[in-house]
């Protein structure tokens, strides 16, 4: 399997995981941001970003393994398992970044919206709009986190060639085999994907207004 094919599989799996995480993270972040406990929740999610990927991988493995509560779904060692695992992995990061973005624009924009007679729905829409560059930045950073992680992909995907093998698992395996050239190719591709995205994310953040 070529390095490019592995990279394409990685992007596909991590891209889907990021999109899946967006489905719950974005509405949840907006809702939590405007709650009275917003600041405490932001700190909580920020703390959760430090949970090691192997711990998340292990917990999800126990959940999805044949003897686990969701074993009947036969998801373990499928790309879908990796997608779900990575989506769970990036959830605290995405929520804390989006909440942070909303907190930065929130006090002034909330006051403005209220004094102009905005409803709660209008307020949420306005906060989302004003924080949108930072939200895009959060999504890109979440993708970078997903595409570069090893623990979840290895434990839930099993590193099956052409199926669940992604760049991080392939690098780990090929190094054991002594295929340093392929490892370097994959590492180069990983950086070629991640670094421009981080750069774009930072630029978006800087050009917020």
């Amino acid at each position: 399997m070529s390095a490019l094919a592995i990279a394409a599989r990685s992007v596909e799996i991590s891209g889907l995981a990021t999109l899946l995480a967006c489905a719950w993270c974005l509405p949840l972040s907006l809702r939590l941001s405007t709650s009275s406990r917003g600041r405490a929740l932001r700190t909580l999610f920020l703390s959760l970003t430090s949970v090691p990927t192997v711990v998340i991988g292990l917990l999800l493995y126990l959940l999805l393994s044949s003897s686990g509560p969701l074993g009947s779904l036969s998801l373990l060692y499928t790309p879908l398992a990796v997608v779900i695992g990575q989506a769970v992995l990036v959830t605290p990061l995405m929520i804390s970044l989006v909440m942070e973005a909303i907190a930065r624009v929130s006090p002034a924009i909330t006051d403005l919206a209220l004094t102009l007679g905005a409803s709660r729905k209008h307020l949420m829409g306005l906060l989302r709009r004003e924080a949108s560059p930072s939200i895009v930045c959060a999504v890109l950073l979440a993708f970078c986190r997903a595409v570069g992680e090893l623990g979840v992909a290895l434990m839930l995907g099993g590193n099956i060639p052409g199926w669940t093998r992604v760049m991080s698992t392939a690098i780990a395996l090929e190094l054991e085999r002594g295929e340093v050239g392929l490892c370097l190719q994959l590492a180069g591709l990983l950086l070629a994907i991640v670094l421009p995205l981080v750069f774009i994310a930072r630029r978006l953040e800087e050009r917020r207004r």
Partner: protein, 213 residues
């Protein structure tokens, strides 16, 4: 001044931690009146305007709007009828036009007549050539005029302005003052400048030194 009361504050108190900002403060603002709240920095002008704008609640006391007691349930429906222009220029990313029409978009008012009114107000405040400019491209004085125009477009029954000429140069200040003189309706503004208060207001309420209502 014999008009009906637009807003009335009865025995309003507000403190931030150990700092008592307002203590049993009373105020009545009548229809069509131009009232200046005069006081030094930290005397509670912003707090008072935020309470009048129903953005903050007092610790104790009552607020009446057109004779009706304002409750937390009633406050959201009254916002928009009372509009506050903040001391700092607060704007959404986008053009001057988008900012002018922001309040109207919340009301779902998109008719041609209303848009025309918005443009007339923009023209009155000398913003007609700036409509397609991004807000960040404007000077502080121009941004302030947009903020005032955005509030005027809503035709609020009570317009509140928190130090509308703070941090502006003389030229921008006079432009804002000229614009304020043309505003019809009930206006309450805060200032640290006694001369400006006298120049623009029918009545002056002092904070910080000695409450004279």
């Amino acid at each position: 001044m014999s008009g009906s009361r637009v807003i009335e504050l009865r025995r309003i108190s507000k403190s931030y931690g150990p700092q008592q900002v307002l203590l049993e403060f009373n105020l009545q603002v009548r229809e069509g009146e131009r009232l200046a709240i005069l006081g030094p920095n930290g005397s509670g002008k912003t707090t008072l305007l935020r309470i009048m704008g129903l953005l903050d609640s007092p610790d104790s006391g009552e607020i009446f709007f057109r004779g009706e007691r304002v409750t937390p349930q009633l406050a959201p429906s009254l916002r928009g009828r009372i509009t506050l222009v903040f001391q700092e220029n607060v704007w959404i990313s986008g053009t001057v036009r988008e900012n002018l029409l922001l309040g109207l978009s919340f009301r779902g008012a998109g008719g041609e007549e209303i848009r025309l009114r918005a443009l007339q107000i923009a023209e009155r405040l000398g913003l007609q050539t700036l409509l397609e400019k991004k807000m960040w491209q404007l000077s502080g004085g121009e941004q302030k005029r947009v903020c005032i125009a955005r509030a005027l477009v809503l035709e609020p029954e009570l317009l509140l302005l928190d130090e509308p000429t703070a941090w502006l140069d003389r030229k921008s200040s006079s432009l804002i003052e000229e614009a304020l003189k043309k505003v019809e309706g009930t206006v309450v503004f805060s200032t640290t400048d006694p001369v400006q208060a006298k120049r623009l207001a029918d009545r002056v309420v002092r904070l910080g030194y000695r409450l004279t209502v």
